[in-house]
């Protein structure tokens, strides 16, 4: 198997997350390899976003083990900020810093965390803005951008820290339909460039085209996983079949 030769980037074992009495994740185990693009699909409330947010510990797991790049995220003593520098995250609602223009959104973290000098950070930022097609928006404030532009800036901001891993939390769900394409195009390019990506999405077309592996989650567990071909063409579990019938 080629999988065994690849580096495991994210190792998740028996991940459980409860909010009070509400058990949102009921034991999730999976390994994600370097350069792999994993799409997580499933009905709302199935725990997809919580699963993703546990990977960079925006949510602290109740139990289980998460190892990213050799760092045990679930360990209380781990230098979380250091690990997070290597994990970019893109949010459903963009979360661009409203008090800064686009350029400063991209430069804040690299400069503040002394990853780059101001001049270098600016150069990187402008290059990234060009790759997402927004070099003319460097001086704009987030409030002046469309949803699709905001999300592309958000992707560029995450990339400015040159992370090894990118997490996407329903990146196109808050967008007008006509703007979905421009964001997906950026993500596709990123996938082609070999970025390790975990994408929670409702865009089945994207999952089918780009994913190396699709996880179908329901009620806090991974019910089924496989290549897009397996999941979309011949789902084994009746719940998966049912969900796909509804959304496709």
């Amino acid at each position: 198997m080629t999988d065994n030769q690849k580096n495991i980037k994210i190792h998740i074992e028996n991940l459980v997350k409860s909010f009070g009495h509400n058990k949102v994740l009921r034991g999730i185990s999976t390994d994600i390899c370097e350069g792999e693009v994993v799409c997580v699909i499933g009905p709302s409330g199935s725990g997809k976003s919580t699963f993703l947010r546990c990977i960079n510990r925006l949510e602290t797991a109740t139990s289980g083990e998460i190892v990213v790049d050799g760092y045990r995220i679930s360990d209380k003593k781990v230098n979380l900020n250091k690990v997070r520098e290597n994990i970019g995250m893109v949010f459903q609602h963009f979360n661009l810093f409203a008090n800064m223009n686009v350029l400063n959104n991209l430069m804040l973290a690299p400069v503040d965390l002394k990853k780059a000098s101001k001049a270098d950070a600016k150069e990187t930022a402008m290059r990234l803005l060009e790759t997402v097609g927004l070099s003319d928006k460097a001086d704009s404030f987030p409030s002046q951008l469309s949803g699709g532009q905001k999300q592309r800036v958000a992707i560029a901001r995450a990339l400015a820290m040159s992370p090894d891993i990118m997490l996407f939390d329903e990146p196109t769900s808050a967008l007008d339909p006509e703007m979905v394409g421009e964001v997906l195009a950026v993500m596709k390019q990123l996938a082609r460039d070999g970025m390790t990506m975990v994408v929670v999405t409702h865009e089945m077309g994207f999952a089918r085209e780009v994913a190396d592996r699709v996880l179908f989650m329901d009620e806090g567990v991974i019910l089924e996983e496989g290549t897009p071909e397996q999941i979309f063409s011949s789902p084994k579990h009746p719940r998966t079949k049912d969900f796909l019938d509804k959304v496709l």
């Binding site: 997070r84 661009l96 008090n99 804040l108």
Partner: protein, 222 residues
Amino acid sequence: MVQLISTYGSILLTAMGQTLLLALWGLFFGCILGIIFGLASVVDNKVSRFITKIYVNVISGVPMIVLAFFVFYGVPYGLKSILGTTFVLTSLQAGTICLALNCGAYMSEIIRAGIQAIDPGQMEAARSLGLSYWRSMFRVVLPQAIKNMIPSIVNQFIITLKDTSILSVIGFPELVNKAQNVIAITFKSFEMWTIVAVMYLVVILALQQVANALERRLSRDR
């Protein structure tokens, strides 16, 4: 009236100066307390949030005149009977403590509310990039929160300025205290309180204008 102003005008102006001095000291320490307790009430720490809650509840539940008597008369007397020390506060010191405690409690609530009104996604995005909690707070959350807080903060400044009048009861020579002295000599109560009211009004309206200009400038920046 004219004679009253010409005779006692300089006394009243000096008293207004004392009022402003007391207000400035109260605001200065009040802001410090407000920032400390305001931040303490949003961090993820049960102890600090509990302490802040007690502080705010005690201050908002006790009239300032009682606080003034307590600090000025009660505390030195209490310390004397317990420790046997002679500890005296000037009325400026006691007044500053009262105003600062009072202003600090309300400021901390303004700051807490201002921070909590910012979308949590802003903090999450900053944290996800590897910034620490406090770096995220100072670079991303607070700059946005402060803009929203400014009208409430100015309002609190004005309330604190007016609250200085309460400290006439511990003998601090601010405007109300001095006016009372003048009335005791002249019996011109109607004229004096009119003059005092106008003096407060002028200062506060001027402050309001400065605040409005500041607010306009800040909103233009966006």
